[in-house]
């Protein structure tokens, strides 16, 4: 049985017929072409699939798509503003915070939520924000460096809609 799912992705409305057990990650990647969110562990442990739902980070791999009915989803593709990268994206670039890059979208989305809630985080706040984002290249120090640099950026409020 299929049900109509109507929601927004990065501000644009989307209507998709989905099955009850399809995940938000399935819909974003396979139906709508938003491949920023990555398919990692598929059990909610690694954080590579993290997206924002109404501004809150969620694991899209264990979020059933129908539960975001009427809600606003932001993926890493939706963080840039006016053609400019989000301050976190710029800081990741500047600080070499991406190695293989697979965890990067989840890291950036998790940290974007942190900066919205707490504009002046300390390093431990940033560590807690990415407690559930695994980097198998173990590039955590540079990721935290980038988060702190983004928090100092005057443009940090350029985040999700």
């Amino acid at each position: 049985m299929k049900y109509m799912l109507s929601f927004t992705v990065n501000g644009a409305p989307a209507d998709v017929a989905v099955g009850p057990t399809e995940t938000l990650l399935d819909v974003l990647r396979d139906r709508l072409g938003f491949t920023g969110a990555k398919r990692g562990c598929e059990t909610g442990d690694c954080g590579a699939c993290t997206v924002l739902v109404d501004g809150r980070s969620v694991r899209s791999c264990i979020t059933l798509a129908l539960t975001v009915q009427g809600k606003a989803v932001t993926t890493v593709e939706g963080l840039a503003r006016d053609g400019k990268p989000h301050p976190l994206q710029q800081a990741f670039h500047d600080h070499g915070a991406s190695q293989c890059g697979f965890c990067t979208p989840g890291m950036i989305v998790s940290l974007a939520e942190l900066l919205e809630k707490n504009p002046e985080p300390c390093r431990d706040d940033a560590r807690a924000a990415i407690a559930g984002n695994l980097c198998r290249c173990t590039g955590y120090v540079k990721i935290i460096d980038a988060a702190m640099a983004a928090a100092r950026s005057p443009h940090k409020k350029g985040g999700p809609a």
């Binding site: 057990t21 442990d45 980070s57």
Partner: protein
């Protein structure tokens, strides 16, 4: 083929449960259920999503704090009423040791209890706070003390057509403390966890609660250890003896996370530390 419903009210939810139980699963945050749906470990004929059924509230009713079943861990961590009326519950919900923000934003208190993991991190604080579970069905309403709610790993007193509507917490006095040990400092299932509550009067323990998780088939209170404290002055030796007694009442197992011996040894120390923090004993390590 699975059918899906997203009822808008608790009454609508109960009617759906009654119509479709037992081949029906309640979906809240989905952090436990969805992996099971994906692996095939769960394949219900009907999914009832309760995230928009009006169960995500936190409010005070006279002398009780009422937490709706669909209140998330993030709500528990951030809500001022939880901070003021049930600080130990907020502390357990807040610690990164339990899980990540992305899970806590969706995982719910009702789900944590209904899943009935022996290691559930919200169960021990709620046991220490004397919480009740408010259970509804089309047949009526009942209230079960949380201590009587769990019947085994993954098992509770819930009948197939019943819904946890809320957790009800009396505004009890005293200082409460939550402690847990996992394999790592973040996002880790508890090797052992504990919540204690002490009410001190004129320098002596008037009331005590000691709850332990991940050391028995269900999260449980250790009444023998609690009784040791009544009428006594707080002290390190007393709390160590009390920790040892608490673990004597438990039946930890060896599993992938830790050995039974480790759980017993670390659990006793953890209880002593939590009691020391609750009593404000100098020199007690911080969490």
């Amino acid at each position: 083929m699975t059918a899906y419903y997203a009822p808008k009210t608790p009454a609508e939810t109960l009617a759906l449960l009654s119509a479709h139980a037992p081949d029906c699963a309640l979906l809240a945050g989905g952090t436990d259920l969805v992996p099971k749906l994906k692996s095939g470990a769960a394949a219900p004929g009907t999914l009832v999503y309760i995230g928009s059924a009006g169960l995500d509230y936190i409010r005070q009713e006279e002398s009780r704090l009422i937490v709706g079943a669909a209140a998330t861990w993030t709500m528990l961590a951030e809500h001022p009423l939880v901070a003021s009326c049930a600080a130990v519950l907020a502390a357990a919900a807040r610690t990164p040791a339990a899980s990540s923000p992305g899970v806590k934003n969706t995982a719910t208190v009702g789900g944590n209890l209904a899943t009935a993991s022996p290691a559930a991190d919200l169960a021990t604080p709620l046991l220490a706070l004397d919480a009740d579970v408010r259970i509804h069905s089309v047949r009526g309403t009942r209230t079960v003390a949380l201590g009587d709610f769990f019947t085994g790993p993954g098992k509770t007193v819930l009948l197939p057509d019943e819904l946890i509507c809320a957790v009800s917490i009396p505004l009890c006095g005293g200082i409460s403390v939550f402690e847990k040990i996992g394999r790592r400092k973040a996002m880790s299932i508890s090797v052992v966890n504990t919540a204690v509550r002490l009410v001190l009067e004129q320098g002596r323990c008037r009331e005590a609660r000691i709850a332990l998780g991940s050391v028995a088939p269900v999260p449980l209170r250790c009444r023998g250890a609690e009784d040791m404290l009544i009428g006594k002055e707080p002290g390190r030796e007393l709390f160590q003896a009390c920790g040892a007694e608490a673990l004597r009442a438990c039946s930890p197992i060896d599993d992938a996370a830790a050995t039974a011996w480790y759980r017993r040894t670390a659990g006793a120390a953890l209880v002593a530390r939590a009691l020391g923090r609750a009593a404000g004993l100098p020199g007690t390590p911080e969490e």
